[in-house]
């Protein structure tokens, strides 16, 4: 039988092969299972670290029930009186009374005759910069444009000073006087999402409130003074 003879004949195989087969030790291959386990563990650890870091980041300030930041919890925040230098009195664009009326009627602003409450103001020092952030609520007395009359809205203002001089980071400015008169005519717009970096943390106006206060006018509910011209509130109402 050929196979049998071949089996017998194989006795004469190369000496090196016999030594090899006697002393062969399988070289340890890289275990893909082990690599996968290590990779999975690494991902898990990284995920935990990321979650921790993210949570740590979020926990740097408190969020209120409305999901907005409680400005008093901002790191480095110092609560101050609203009568202190808080609100930037920038004039912005000045129109003729007629143009002002036309612009306000046609743009996306919100106009309220109302009364401010729960005013909170802080300052945060960041190097040469000092940030002033104010949040307050406005009880709507007369919904003149783009707001529900029965509502109370939350508004904010942000100002920045550098060495006691106004610093127009983000081109936002507010000219409000709730420290003198809480009731008045408020010009508001949707709070912008532009980010400002304060002590390494990024904030935007919409993180504090839904509305950004552009201007407050002294008003008796019927008319207000615009650079010496009396404008009827009714002229600003939405059509």
């Amino acid at each position: 039988m050929k196979g049998e003879n071949l089996l017998l004949g194989m006795t004469h195989i190369d000496n090196n092969l016999i030594d090899f087969a006697e002393s062969y030790k399988k070289r340890k291959r890289t275990s893909y299972k082990a690599i996968l386990s290590i990779a999975a563990s690494f991902c898990l650890i990284m995920s935990i670290v990321m979650i921790f870091a993210t949570n740590s980041h979020k926990q740097k300030y408190e969020l209120g029930e409305d999901g907005k930041i409680n400005i008093l919890s901002i790191p480095g925040a110092i609560q101050i009186n609203t009568s202190d230098k808080v609100f930037l009195a920038g004039e912005g664009d000045i129109y003729t009374p007629e143009d002002f009326v036309n612009v306000q009627k046609s743009n996306g602003s919100t106009i309220i005759y109302g009364s401010a409450k729960n005013v909170k103001t802080i300052n945060v020092t960041d190097g040469d910069l000092t940030w002033y952030i104010t949040t307050f609520e406005i009880d709507v007395i007369d919904a003149i444009k783009s707001v529900d009359e029965s509502s109370t809205i939350k508004a904010t203002s942000i100002s920045c000073y550098e060495n006691d001089k106004p610093h127009f980071i983000g081109n936002l400015s507010s000219n409000i006087m709730i420290d003198k008169n809480t009731t008045g005519l408020f010009l508001l717009k949707s709070a912008p999402t532009d980010e400002y970096e304060i002590n390494g943390e990024k904030y935007s106006a919409d993180m504090f409130a839904s509305y950004y206060v552009m201007r407050q006018y002294e008003c008796d509910g019927k008319s207000f003074d615009y650079y010496g011209t009396t404008i009827e509130v009714d002229k600003l109402r939405s059509p």
Binding site: K2, G3, N5, G9, H12, I13, D19, F20, Y24, K26
Partner: protein
């Protein structure tokens, strides 16, 4: 423990201490080869003793000091296979036949031309074939057809699954058949 050269010198000096030293150094490994083929302690011991006697008779004139273990391993394998062939009724003979049949797959001629084959030359060709294979494949083939290991044992030693070992052996037999044909063994 003496080195191979020193042990072989004892054979040349016709010093029986050579056999004792051989047994001391290689007895265990030789018995393992015999066990793989016979699996019977009495027969294994007898084959081991016969191996030493045959080595005693072969040295001199042979000087296997550079390949002493393979020299002894070949002797004990040959003796064990002779025993296996003689005891055809025993269980181990079944494996012997099984392996013979597996190897026969590598040879495609009818049995009647068998006597014309120079099996020593053929083994050189098989050695060359094995030397072209990876260590793992080489190991599997040799453990199966030289050391008579069963599939389970090979799988354990090679840290592979039994199915992988079987598949490797099947492929190797096919490759060997083609190799032998290319080398002129149209058997």
């Amino acid at each position: 423990m003496l080195n191979d050269k020193q042990i072989v010198n004892l054979y040349f000096e016709r010093n029986e201490e050579g056999i004792r030293q051989t047994s001391l150094k290689y007895g265990f490994r030789l018995r393992n080869i015999a066990k793989g083929i016979l699996n019977n302690d009495e027969e294994v011991e007898e084959c081991e003793n016969n191996t030493y006697i045959q080595a005693w008779n072969l040295i001199p004139p042979n000087d296997p000091s550079d390949y002493f273990f393979p020299f002894l391993a070949k002797i004990i394998r040959h003796i064990c296979l002779d025993v296996c062939k003689k005891n055809r009724s025993k269980k181990r003979y079944v494996q012997y036949i099984e392996l013979s049949k597996e190897l026969e797959e590598c040879l495609s001629s009818p049995n009647d031309v068998d006597e014309q084959i120079d099996y020593i030359e053929l083994c050189k060709t098989i050695s060359n074939f094995l030397n072209t294979q990876t260590d793992e494949k080489k190991f599997i083939f040799l453990r199966r057809y030289w050391f008579f290991d069963n599939i389970c044992e090979i799988a354990k030693k090679a840290e592979l699954s039994e199915s992988k070992v079987k598949a490797t052996l099947h492929r190797l037999r096919n490759e060997l058949k083609i190799y032998l044909q290319k080398e002129g063994y149209v058997l």
